[in-house]
Symmetry: C2
Subunit: 200 residues, 2 copies
DNA sequence: GTCTATATTGTGATAGAC
DNA sequence: GTCTATCACAATATAGAC
């Protein structure tokens, strides 16, 4: 998926920005063209339809974090060794593109039937992952917790603050985005500590 | 906000359903009217505009969980006493209307400027809440964590699994919604245990 | 590849009959 | 309160000139 022409790059950049912000139905082809500073019909020339342009943006967004998840689910290494790396990777991804989680979750929520197909395309076999995860010692017993709950907790702690950024930064950090970002940086150390504490 | 006529109830029910699922821009007035089985112009008769209909639905959604948050932030009681109740209340709310979190987060994410005003209307004073929270002993020291991080962790653990339900149920529970719901029930006990463990 | 012009359909909203 | 008819406009998409 290399973007050849300069125009094509401008289109994808603007489409990403506006789709992330307003959703698929929330912005028009005209909006995207205006943001990119090009003629509207060029969008159709390059991507044929709004649906296909959205598809390109959505798949790129999925591709930015599914591999992380997949790697963790598929790996044979002990769980703890992954936590620090995973947390850092995921949080860094969110810091770079803070709007990805809400964008992806909204699309999947209004179209949940897409999930199985996407998982398949991205090389994640859910039932295989679960099997591996529940193998003895793969994800260590923590307070008698199901291993899936451990994974879910980890993901919740990493992703939710970004999905809820508007609320969180307003209610907890009085609207100060700098302080919010510092807090997110802090969580890179904090979350692994929590996991370690729970594992004890 | 009592809904008088039968028609009005049908409208709100359908608007809720479709706005939750597809977002404000993702469904038309015609869609809502069709779902409610009534004439499209009645929507304008009762709510004047799409904006005002959306506002009614959005405010109702906010009202279903902001009071819980506000109560916790404002209360003088020790933090631990609230955790069990709060977790149960929040998870029960999510179980009843699983689409609320993603709906609210999406709207606030594309329109973050609304947050301060909404907080004010709902009687939550952020800076006051923070002040109270950081008072000695209000939210207990946990692993040297900032009290705001504790709150954020708690909310993340409760809400994220529902916001990400499509992904979670597919990847971790192989698409089985029954098993997913059981896991969410289990979290009512599990999350307070985690909090307790971290507080030690 | 990029533009203008245009076809076609959908949308929110209102006026006015019943 | 509920309907039909209608308005003004915005949307996606394509055809065809350059």
């Amino acid at each position: 998926m290399t973007l050849n022409t300069e125009t094509e790059q401008k289109i994808i950049a603007s489409a990403e920005k506006l789709f992330y912000q307003k959703g698929k139905a929330g912005c028009s082809m005209q909006d995207i063209a205006d943001d990119a500073g090009i003629n509207r019909t060029l969008l159709n020339y390059y991507y044929r339809s709004k649906d296909q342009l959205f598809e390109a943006v959505f798949r790129q967004a999925m591709g930015s974090f599914v591999p992380n998840l997949a790697a963790m689910l598929k790996s044979d290494m002990p769980f703890q060794d992954y936590v620090q790396d995973l947390v850092e990777t995921v949080i860094d991804t969110m810091l770079e593109s803070p709007q990805i989680p809400i964008f992806v979750l909204q699309e999947l929520s209004s179209n949940p039937a897409r999930m199985p197909q996407i998982m398949k395309e991205m090389g994640v076999d859910p039932s295989l992952a679960i099997e591996k995860m529940t193998e003895e010692g793969r994800v260590p017993e923590a307070m008698g917790m199901d291993p899936r709950q451990v994974i879910l907790n980890l993901m919740s702690l990493c992703i939710f603050p970004f999905a809820a950024r508007a609320v969180v930064s307003e209610v907890l950090y009085d609207g100060d985005q700098e302080v919010f970002l510092e807090a997110m940086e802090e969580r890179k150390k904090l979350i692994p500590q929590i996991v370690k504490q729970i594992m004890k």
